[in-house]
Symmetry: C2
Subunit: 609 residues, 2 copies
């Protein structure tokens, strides 16, 4: 008998099941979390420090006593490579124990799901041909499968060619990666026996691509990363990219090929990290907004560029990886869950799936913040969804000193009169402001009345100065920065944030109006998306991004779209569920909604109620 | 009410149904026969001369009286463009009325079959999207199809992209080319409404490719041609091509791409001839021997090059035209019927299907003569098949003055003592000998005892002379040839024919032995294949290619493999039937058959009994 325990890893919100005897480092690896473990997990480097929060653990080891500082021990810290859970446990991973990519925001709250992958591995062994047994390779294989109760293979030609070669190379004992259906088994690839089967999940945001390499047999995320969407060079948001694509067919193809190339390169890097072959990657699930979906699939986007903004395809798609040039195993398919509307795509379907909001009896609001922000409200079992163009300001774009959340970015700031205390990622001298930093900054400026509720700067304030194009607030003097230039927040920056938060708030207001609920009636507010993970809720509430409700009604779930994509990769049931998700949705088109412009304009005020 | 008549076109053996009022030229066109009609069918050029054999016809027109010679009229000749059948009729088409490709041997006996094509055209019309109807293009199309009782579409991405574009271009009224199944309709392409759907059939011989362009709605062959197999540059027979392909992957790919390019080019030419677009070609059936099948599909051929010669795939395949680069309409599939063994391919399946030999209660022998000759014998419902390497001698290859059957080739010859009377294709001065000519020549040499039954030339004969490498028979003196060089038949040539006919005869003998029948017990001898169409049976019997049975037991069916391919293109039932054909076949591997070498050696003698 083997005992199994549930390990909750905080604050990134990852839940994983481990067997008795496994260490927390094992658990983190299985969960696909890159814990720093410089010594390779033998307990001598002290880099994999974690903080047990609840549950029972194995006692302190000699290595821990030798390696941890006395104050760490007294505060309850342990080494992940040394400590073994003795019950279900909760463990906090301090940021410094994560490798530097922790701000790439590819994690999300995950639930344990039943593993029913679309592609499974079957080891088969067969007699080789001789003069009395002239069956073709495919007949021989199909008859072996039939004995195991699997239907016969169908395959593309590359798959059949590889089958013949692999059978001979591996002496008639191989592993088939197949997707079994009622009447036929789709052959994905042939591999040496017992080869581990992997899958790729990706959430393709307008700005960032999150890519996960997942073990289809254990469900573990083996590696993950976030990379910039290369399409940014052709337009910051999807609207400008649609315009670019519609200029000519070459442009549209360019957007597709750049995207696919980047995914290929990223997947290759992940495979190298883990030491596996790309031939083992036999399945994929990709989610994105409808425009990203269409760019990825090479579908026309003309009709997404003009009213009434209909998708070419809203149905769930299972497409050939080969057809679009995605470098997975030979006959691998890529699954894309259904889109909801022209500007609410399969990524939102994925979030609704991962958060299970779509089926809740409660009243919930779900906001997936990105360059496009999708919002859903669930009330009395009805789902209302819309999309709103919040823009890339939260990614640091369109902000004078904006930058993305990497080392040197001001991620938080406190202002007291004319005193400013910035906090940077990596605790180095600041070189810019990331999304969370600018929000916190504006919130502090409001608290100190450096700006008013319209966003106008107080020119009397000692740190406010007038410049050519308006006024600006001096956040960090040149001498204190990493690059020797002043870091400021301009009136224009403030306005960008007003536009962004106003768009989100207006969407929330109109959905609440449609559903007939007030903010107080909403039981839970779920904030998803890359930016949503690190969002300081106090700041967000202060600037009026959300209605003023108690903080404990909010739940930040991280990249739920990525989590949903992984769930659909690991479970055919989840793919069926995704089709259910979209069925009952009431889509609200904001651009033609009566009174939208007024609501939007009002919602730009910081004191909008 | 419309009367319909059956028109039998001889000697090429084409049967076609026409409506009352249609001319014989219409019938010929519908049957895909290229009748010469220089004036375009208005009755003034006199080139479309035909010879009615039985049935009733419309009376002689003024144009015919003006155009035909008095002796033609009295002999019963008519102009095809003027005469209309008034009953079921039989008509002979003299060779001079056919365009010059008549010897390319792509015709075969055809039966009228029920049209159940795999791809059908559905004209659909739908409401366009507006703000109150935001359904995606695919949803909209599927819901329209559902009203017509068709299951929803599945499609590759190109097909979906084209659907969106075509819907808008054609104002939401289009024709879908679909292949409907129980649960889904495979979308092949979208076209303007009422566009005629076409298909391609091809019989890929080792030496020649026969290509047909077929109207899927009427069943008519619109155009057809025969071209050389470009793979000949890399090996004359499939055994040498397999060796070439096995040297490296590039070679194998080269064989595939050259083949596909030639098919593409040929299809394009046929489409231009008929004035249709390649976008209308929505389905294809391709047959060939197992090696050609594997080359075409890009399957490995290593295992075909060594005992026990097993195919990679023997199952019927439906492959994506796009995957192998065949330039049909977007999502068109190519169907290949099942192979029987490593050296008996889907072409033989196709012949068994077209000739219906596989299901006969009679005892029949079916010989499909080609560079590889496949032979089947049916006795008491059991089918025995084998393949024998007859080589390309019948195509004029390996023969000193050999050439293919085109203008200037000696196709027949009579010898009387030292008098030689050659007859050439086109009645021009001879420039070489084609397969039928060499057979007739050897037959005549035997009758005149210029060679003995072992094939040794009589050096006493005035036209026999000794040369460096043996002896030769002077067929035509230099002064009487088109190129001013002697045309001869050498001892070596005779030996090539002995090897070829010996291989065929040995195969027949061993199959009869297996089935337990004698030649006398065989009710019918069916001779198929390009060469078989023009084969002079008397000569064939004289040289011992077949056992000495009465001539009237032979039936020459032309390119039955091509006919079978067309049947499978026009009828899904025929595809199912093809699967039945191969089920009960007893394959006999000659290379390891006890006593094969002895039988082969004996069968090389001209007087083998």
């Amino acid at each position: 008998m083997t005992l199994k325990f549930i390990v909750d890893l905080e604050p990134i919100g990852r839940r994983i099941e481990i067997e008795e005897g496994a260490t927390l480092l094992d658990a983190a690896h299985k969960a696909g979390i890159d814990l720093v473990a410089a010594c390779g997990g033998v307990g001598i480097c002290g880099t994999c420090v974690v903080h047990p929060r609840s549950g029972k653990f194995s006692p302190l080891t000699q290595n821990e006593e030798d390696t941890l500082l006395p104050e760490q021990i007294s505060a309850g810290f342990r080494l992940a490579c040394q400590v073994r859970p003795l019950s279900d446990v909760k463990v906090e991973i301090p940021p410094e124990s994560l490798v530097s990519s922790q701000q790439m925001q590819v994690e999300g709250k995950e639930d344990v799901i039943r593993l029913i992958p679309n592609v499974i591995g079957i080891d088969i062994q067969m007699e080789k041909p001789d003069i009395d047994d002239l069956r073709s390779d495919l007949t021989r294989t199909n008859q072996t499968l039939a004995k195991m109760q699997f239907p016969p293979l169908n395959s593309d030609l590359n798959g059949l060619a590889r089958l013949s070669k692999m059978l001979r190379k591996e002496n008639w004992t191989i592993r088939l990666a197949i997707s079994p259906n009622e009447h036929q088994s789709r052959l994905v690839t042939s591999l040496p026996k017992k080869t581990r089967l992997l899958g790729m999940a990706s959430d393709m945001g307008s700005t960032k691509l999150a890519v996960y390499l997942v073990d289809l047999e254990s469900g573990a995320t083996l590696a993950q990363t976030g990379v910039m969407n290369p399409q940014i060079s052709y337009g910051e948001d999807v609207v400008s990219r649609i315009a670019f694509a519609n200029k000519n067919e070459e442009n549209r193809k360019l957007l597709q090929s750049r995207l696919v190339q980047t995914l290929n390169h990223t997947l290759e890097t992940l495979c190298q990290q883990v030491g596996v072959s790309i031939d083992q990657v036999v399945d994929a699930v990709v989610v994105g907004n409808t425009a990203m979906h269409h760019f990825f699939c090479g579908l026309p986007v003309e009709q997404l560029g003009e009213a009434p903004y209909v998708p070419s395809v809203s149905e769930a798609l299972s497409i050939s990886a080969h057809e679009i040039g995605l470098a997975l195993a030979g006959g691998a398919a890529v699954y894309l869950p259904p889109n909801i509307a022209g500007y609410v795509g399969g990524d939102h379907t994925s979030v609704l799936l991962a958060t299970q909001t779509y089926s809740t009896p409660k009243t919930m609001v779900m906001v997936d913040i990105g360059t496009n922000t999708e919002i859903s409200i669930v009330h009395k079992g009805n789902v209302y969804s819309c999309s709103t163009a919040s823009g890339p300001a939260f990614e640091g774009a369109h902000i004078r000193d904006g930058m993305r959340a990497s080392e040197g970015a001001i991620e938080s700031v406190t202002i007291q009169g004319s005193e400013v205390q910035p906090k940077t990622i990596g605790n180095v001298k600041p070189i810019g402001i990331c999304g969370t930093g600018i929000l916190k900054g504006i919130s502090e400026m409001l608290n100190n009345r450096i700006i008013d509720e319209r966003g106008v700067l107080d020119k009397q304030h000692p740190r406010v100065r007038t410049i050519d194009r308006g006024s600006e607030f001096l956040l960090v003097e040149a001498k204190d920065t990493g690059h020797g230039r002043d870091i400021v927040i301009t009136r224009r920056d403030v306005n960008e944030i007003q536009l962004a938060k106003g768009a989100i708030r207006a969407g929330i207001e109109i959905l609440m109006r449609e559903a007939g609920v007030t903010a107080d009636q909403v039981d839970e507010w779920i904030i998803a998306g890359a930016f949503g993970t690190y969002l300081d809720l106090n700041s967000a509430l202060r600037i009026g991004m959300f209605p003023n409700v108690p903080l404990d009604r909010f739940r930040q779930v991280g990249n739920a779209a990525g989590v949903g994509a992984k769930q659909m990769l690991l479970s055919k049931e989840k793919r069926e569920e995704a089709k259910e998700v979209v069925k009952g949705i009431n889509y609200i088109e904001l651009t033609t909604y009566p009174g939208f412009t007024k609501t939007y304009t009002d919602a730009m005020y910081f004191n909008f109620v």
